[in-house]
Assembly symmetry: C2
Homo-oligomer: 319 residues x 2
């Protein structure tokens, strides 16, 4: 019926997205507890912290301590997020994370100017400097990402050709440094996408760059997260970022509408019901989602943790 992948790679970002934005305070111990539980779910990639300015993001002030204390499980990649050279040096300094570099652009010039006081050209030049830093440390760079790829609250809709141009810019920059990108991540940072725009964008990117793997980072602010992921699946997309229980977004609006990422266990539920492998044990993941909710101390948006998995029901019906 469609070009569904057989296996989907899920990149769990709950600990980073959640602990970064929750008003907290959440103890280092509890953060580690959630990370260690997520390690038991079968997820193969977990972003556990961000190395950002602790004055601006106090919830991440203990990033090094979290990285020091969690218990890595074999076969799981544990990653961190950074936005500049300082953050990268902190990440690599922990000695316990899986470090790879990426070229990161933003599709909206207005958003860039507003948030980083930089033009698109300046941002691209900065990315070149980051590549030099990655190379100096012998770090792989095989991924590009584009923020606000589907629309921007300050600029409006993002036309497909602009994304194609930005990808070309990234590939050119990579080539200048003797690098080859394998994956391009398209982020619907401000939740402008609908299933149809996902399909149109993915179709255009695949047509122009058939050798690039596409990954989607979908925000659920307007309730389209799972539908957008489904549209991606129909186009053969086999890599998604997600957050357990739908962590992230505004903590005080969490019970009103999911402003975080697409919820990991809801996505796993859909994939499992569609016969697509993820390597994840949904029942254990649902326990992790319940733990995440207990840790933040307020309701989180995921639905399956309330509605329950069907496989569990099916097993009960057999007895």
């Amino acid at each position: 019926m469609s070009d569904f992948p057989k296996f989907v790679q899920l990149n769990e970002e709950g600990p980073r997205e959640g602990f970064q934005i929750e008003k907290g305070p959440i103890s280092t111990e509890r953060k580690v507890e959630l990370i260690d539980m997520l390690s038991e779910t079968g997820l193969s990639q977990i972003q556990i912290v961000s190395f950002v300015n602790p004055k601006r993001v106090p919830g991440m002030a203990d990033a090094e301590e979290v990285v020091k204390r969690f218990t890595p499980k074999k076969g799981v990649r544990y990653t961190g997020l950074w936005l500049n050279d300082k953050g990268f040096e902190r990440a690599i300094g922990t000695g316990r994370l899986d470090i790879s570099g990426s070229i990161s652009l933003t599709a909206s010039e207005k958003f860039l100017q507003r948030n980083q006081q930089r033009s698109m050209a300046e941002n691209l030049a900065d990315q070149g400097k980051m590549i030099l830093l990655y190379k100096k440390h012998g770090v792989t760079v095989d991924r590009g990402s584009i923020m606000a790829a589907f629309g921007c609250n300050f600029e409006g809709d993002i036309p497909v050709p602009r994304i194609l141009d930005l990808i070309q810019n990234m590939l050119d920059l990579a080539e200048e440094h003797g690098l080859m990108l394998k994956t391009i991540s398209l982020a619907d940072t401000m939740a402008w996408a609908t299933p149809l725009s996902i399909k149109r964008m993915v179709a255009a990117v695949r047509e122009r760059f058939p050798n690039l793997r596409i990954s989607l980072h979908l925000h659920d602010t307007r309730g389209m997260g799972i539908a957008n992921a489904y549209a991606g699946l129909e186009m053969g997309v086999d890599s998604f970022d997600c957050t357990v229980a739908g962590l992230g977004g505004c903590p005080f609006a969490a019970h009103n509408g999911a402003a975080g990422n697409v919820c990991t266990e809801d996505l796993v539920f859909m994939l499992q019901e569609m016969g697509i492998e993820t390597g994840v044990n949904l029942e254990v993941l649902l326990e992790a989602a319940t733990l995440a909710e207990a840790i933040v101390g307020h309701p989180l948006p995921g639905s399956v943790k309330v509605g329950g998995s069907l496989n569990k029901l099916r097993a009960q019906l057999l007895h």
Copy 2:
């Protein structure tokens, strides 16, 4: 890219689903306030009450009073729900509702036995009696509906051939009475469907009964509502039940996970963004969703009422 309809018919059921299940008490006045506001949204069909046993559903004890007090708007069909002859007589007795009959079956025998102490055959016979009653009152019967069409918490998955058989049963029963069904409503009463099962079921029904219009009634208990609606759209489905703000489901779990119907304004948002007409003004509908939340006094699941419409943002960006 797909067989998308140009226009989608939305059947708003928020007042009925919501006021039926909320612990309340909600005053007749406030119920009427929401109905009258929904009349201003452009929705062309609104189910406003159910005529059920007031001892079992106290929130609907004032059904007649609600029907008496609301202000009908030209061009809008106002309907009610009933489950038996008594309820039907009450509905028709109001003299203010758009009355049409339907044949209603359930795909799960275990669910039927548990909830209505009837076998599938007994249920079909009961439907024959209801048809006689409808004919006696000169009421149109051109619709069939199947509850638990995708799965049942007491029986498990529902195989596609069973649905095809049940539709055939309904068509045969209708024919015995000289009637012809135009629409078949498939209800995912217990939220077992995923986009793929929606597509498979709709494809099978369309292939076997190409002249029947398919309508979907989707519950959002496992967060699949919007994705399932999108899958339906791809198969050309052009009629959906929905509830403003996601009214319905368990009131105390409403902020934890959407157990009600697919949310009207989230669905309208997706349709509008995809260029599919609904006749609904999203901005007015969002006001009605906010009103619904104020009336029930607790957060309701819809996302766009929190995230905001994009057309409003686009208009602001132009200034």
